[in-house]
């Protein structure tokens, strides 16, 4: 814990000492870097970690600045009320914009942000009461318990403090249950939903946090400058914020600070040098930044921070408590051998193609059911129907007496059905422990605020302990803190099983769990599945390794042409001539 705080104290120390050691001009420069960093921090969370992006952050900065400017200059209210108003307006604007655009894929959001970024910019310039393009002057100082924040030195402390607090809050967030959910947003939203995570909600939360940080920066900016006009809140500035994190490093909080510093300092140097060469600096410096960003994206996609990170000690994972205070609640298993999931008459069509036709199967508790069939027989489609990724055109699926066809994957997951994927879907940069803990997401309830303040210690410890228990159970205890992406593919499949187990499921859907495993690993997996069966779990697996299936399964269902071809025990299936023909083929 303490090691995590060291850089924050170093930051505070810098903010305190800088005015003593540096000339005022440099302190002012540092203050600007701090202000930009606040905005960039939000953008790192949004873009680098959440996979969304915004060119409109400058507009939120503007809302923060104008709200306080209007309230303090025209109504004589305290800057603190201005801050509250700015944050409140931002909350409302960001929530409504987020609800409108965040559900859209990839590129619409940034385009949308460009559009409203521009619209807000013109509003700042034209709304009556905002002083037009000339702006509002003579903003009052911020005062805190009698301390007048007036000089660059005062601001250095205040900005340093707020920046350190923001970093602390965001770092807590990223290492929490909510943070793990946020980290799935970039390219694993489908997997996250299957783990019971509400990704739409997470998206909105991230978007709002980023907007609020921008508004905070705007409030500080307004009272530092004591003048507010539309120019610093234009889309061009919004683009510069994005450039900062691209240069610094999109995926890490400290990358935001590095990027803000780089951009501000390089700009300062260019503004000294360029006028001598070209007579003017505006826009010409932008050629430099444009080319720099293109080169960084072509040759160092992670930004410059990863190049420097070798210089610093790696952050240690939080230690895991040996015995968590309380264990997570468990579901009660239904009686052995009782049907868990019953599917009947399933039909699924894609355009003219019939992928599943009158398909049905039953999975019992405390049994392993295998689904086999040649390539293209419709097994994956059936799997997607059972897990809610696809809705059937006809037929029904019942899980423990409840109709689940047409329910979302998230709803089905929360009922106690957990799955793995044919193409492994882990977050490669996250540790095995964090990946597996994603499975337990629905068993925790700590919200955003508690996570940011790290008040969910007990619950978090219980979640991580559960994750560790499942990892040790599948035999990967030595790899707890290894990035999941560096494991061999076979072991990544096992990590997926641990993740699925972490949700305390009643029914486990495994898509080709043995693919890519070596012989000994397959035996270990078979042993694990037998153990799960003896605990009362139902297992449905799609698998091509027949030796594995025949030795393990209680029931086998064979599919061909989207239909059920045969069903029975392994021996019955192996002696079935229709199955042999389906696999080895026959020509009429």
């Amino acid at each position: 814990m303490i090691r995590r705080l060291i850089p924050l104290f170093a930051l505070l120390l810098l903010a305190g000492l800088a005015p003593v050691l540096l000339p005022t001009f440099h302190v002012t420069l540092l203050n600007y870097i701090g202000l930009y960093s606040l905005v960039a921090l939000g953008l790192v969370l949004l873009t680098g970690i959440g996979g969304m992006t915004s060119f409109g952050q400058a507009a939120f900065v503007g809302i923060g600045a104008y709200a306080s400017a209007v309230l303090t200059t025209q109504y004589g209210l305290s800057p603190w009320l201005g801050l509250l108003a700015g944050l409140a307006i931002t909350l409302v604007v960001a929530t409504s914009l987020g609800l409108l655009t965040l559900r859209l894929a990839g590129h619409y959001l940034p385009i949308g942000t460009l559009a409203w970024g521009l619209a807000l910019f013109y509003l700042f310039g034209n709304l009556p009461g905002l002083g037009g393009f000339g702006g509002l002057q003579n903003l009052p100082n911020i005062s805190l318990f009698g301390w007048q924040v007036r000089d660059p030195a005062d601001f250095s402390l205040l900005i340093g403090l707020l920046l350190a607090i923001s970093l602390w809050l965001l770092d807590n967030l990223l290492h929490s249950r909510q943070g793990r959910a946020i980290r799935t947003l970039k390219d694993s939203a489908g997997m996250a939903e299957a783990m019971g995570i509400d990704t739409a909600r997470s998206r909105l939360q991230v978007f709002i946090i980023a907007a609020l940080l921008a508004a905070l920066s705007g409030w500080l900016y307004a009272h530092l400058q004591r003048v507010v006009n539309p120019t610093p809140f234009s889309v061009v500035m919004g683009i510069e914020y994005l450039f900062m994190i691209v240069l610094g490093g999109v995926a890490s909080l400290w990358g935001a600070l590095l990027g803000a510093a780089l951009l501000t300092l390089i700009k300062q140097v260019l503004q000294d040098v360029l006028p001598q060469l070209f007579g003017h600096a505006d826009n010409v410096e932008m050629i430099f930044f444009g080319v720099l960003v293109i080169l960084v994206l072509q040759y160092a996609r992670g930004g410059l921070l990863p190049l420097l990170s070798g210089l610093f000690p790696r952050a240690q994972p939080r230690p895991l408590p040996e015995h968590p205070a309380h264990a997570l609640p468990r579901r009660t298993m239904p009686a052995n051998g009782q049907p868990l999931m019953v599917a009947e008459g399933l039909l699924k069509q894609f355009g003219g193609l019939v992928a599943n036709k009158d398909m049905g199967l039953t999975v019992n508790g405390a049994e392993i059911t295998a689904l086999i069939g040649p390539n293209g027989a419709g097994k994956s489609t059936l799997f997607n129907l059972l897990s809610g990724v696809l809705a059937p055109n006809a037929g029904q699926i019942v899980f423990l007496g409840q109709r689940i066809d047409g329910l979302s994957p998230r709803a089905i997951a929360r009922l106690g059905v957990s799955r793995t994927f044919q193409h492994v879907r882990l977050l490669p940069d996250m540790s095995v422990l964090e990946n597996v803990a994603l499975g337990a997401h629905a068993r925790g309830e700590a919200g955003l605020l508690r996570s940011m303040l790290h008040l969910e210690r007990e619950e978090e410890a219980a979640l991580l302990a559960e994750a560790r228990r499942q990892i040790e159970r599948v035999g990967l205890g030595a790899a707890l803190h290894t990035p999941a992406g560096s494991l061999p593919l076979g072991q990544q499949r096992i990590v997926e099983i641990a993740r699925a187990l972490c949700s305390d499921p009643l029914l486990l859907l495994l898509d080709e769990p043995a693919a890519g495993l070596r012989h000994a690993e397959k035996q270990a997996l078979a042993h694990l599945l037998e153990q799960l069966r003896s605990e009362g779990l139902g297992v449905l697996l799609v698998e091509h390794d027949m030796e594995f299936v025949m030795g393990l399964a209680d029931q086998i269902v064979v599919m061909e042409f989207g239909q059920r071809l045969a069903g029975g025990t392994p021996l019955q299936i192996q002696q079935n001539p229709a199955v042999l023909a389906a696999y080895l083929g026959g020509v009429e």
Partner: protein, 254 residues
């Protein structure tokens, strides 16, 4: 007979996982060679690497010339290779005829203007494509899509036609039709590398066969010898269950 395709020590990796390891394979001009084996054996990966969609280590020579890493898909197609992939990859919203005409893009770019004749030949081979020539490709049935994919590849007048699971999801009667067409093609001088799950149908028309399992060739031989080899059935369906498993089966009362 001259050697058209010669693959030596080919290794293909997906990230850290080797999907195909140290594979050797060859094909004489005018032959049909089958590559059979269960799912996940690496057959599709191998085909993708041969046409240049995936990078690979090892030596591949085609028509006596080495194929190098910088020979991209377009260049390999210019040289007379063609792939009908497992996923078909048709242009769904375009008409059947446009799909076929685009098959001749490579030849068009190199200045050939004999597409109409080739198109007529393809329509002759697949009369159903002629009936549906103005329909969008996405409205075709599974078997028709496969015909269109093969027809599109033929429009490039390939010397080596690589087919990945042409029987996938097709009814046995249609499979028979399509395999008859492969024999016709061979007679007109096209060499074929056939990846199939439907081992019996594939071996029936092949000259030679390889059995691939988990990225490695485990058996090879004349097609007839492979067809009669009991090991092949075992590779597909596994050995009979061990006693322990049978006890479990009977214990749970099923």
């Amino acid at each position: 007979m001259s050697r058209l395709l010669d693959v030596r020590n080919l290794t293909i990796s997906h990230g850290k996982v080797e999907a195909v390891r140290q594979l050797n394979l060859s094909l004489e001009e005018g032959q049909i060679v089958s590559l059979i084996g269960p799912n996940g054996a690496g057959k599709t990966t191998l085909m993708a690497a041969l046409i240049g969609l995936l990078p690979a280590q090892g030596q591949v020579s085609y028509a006596g010339q080495p194929l190098l890493a910088h020979h991209d898909v377009a260049q390999r197609i210019d040289k007379g290779m063609a792939l009908v992939p497992e996923s078909r990859e048709l242009f769904g919203l375009m008409s059947v005829e446009d799909n076929l005409r685009l098959g001749a893009f490579s030849r068009h770019r190199r200045g050939f203007r004999d597409h109409q004749k080739t198109l007529d030949e393809v329509f002759g081979l697949f009369p159903r494509m002629y009936e549906r020539r103005s329909q969008p490709a996405c409205t075709l049935s599974g078997g028709e899509r496969q015909m269109l994919a093969i027809g599109r590849a033929l429009m490039a007048k390939p010397r080596l036609l690589m087919l990945d699971e042409p029987s996938l999801g097709l009814a046995p009667r249609v499979i028979g039709e399509i395999f008859t067409i492969f024999e016709t093609l061979r007679q007109s001088g096209v060499s074929i590398l056939l990846v199939e799950q439907n081992a019996r149908a594939a071996l029936k028309i092949s000259d030679y066969g390889y059995v691939l399992e988990v990225g490695e060739i485990v058996l090879e031989g004349s097609a007839q010898a492979l067809a009669n080899n009991p090991q092949v059935a075992e590779i597909y369906l596994g050995r009979p269950p061990t006693r322990a498993a049978m006890e479990v089966t009977s214990a749970t009362g099923t």
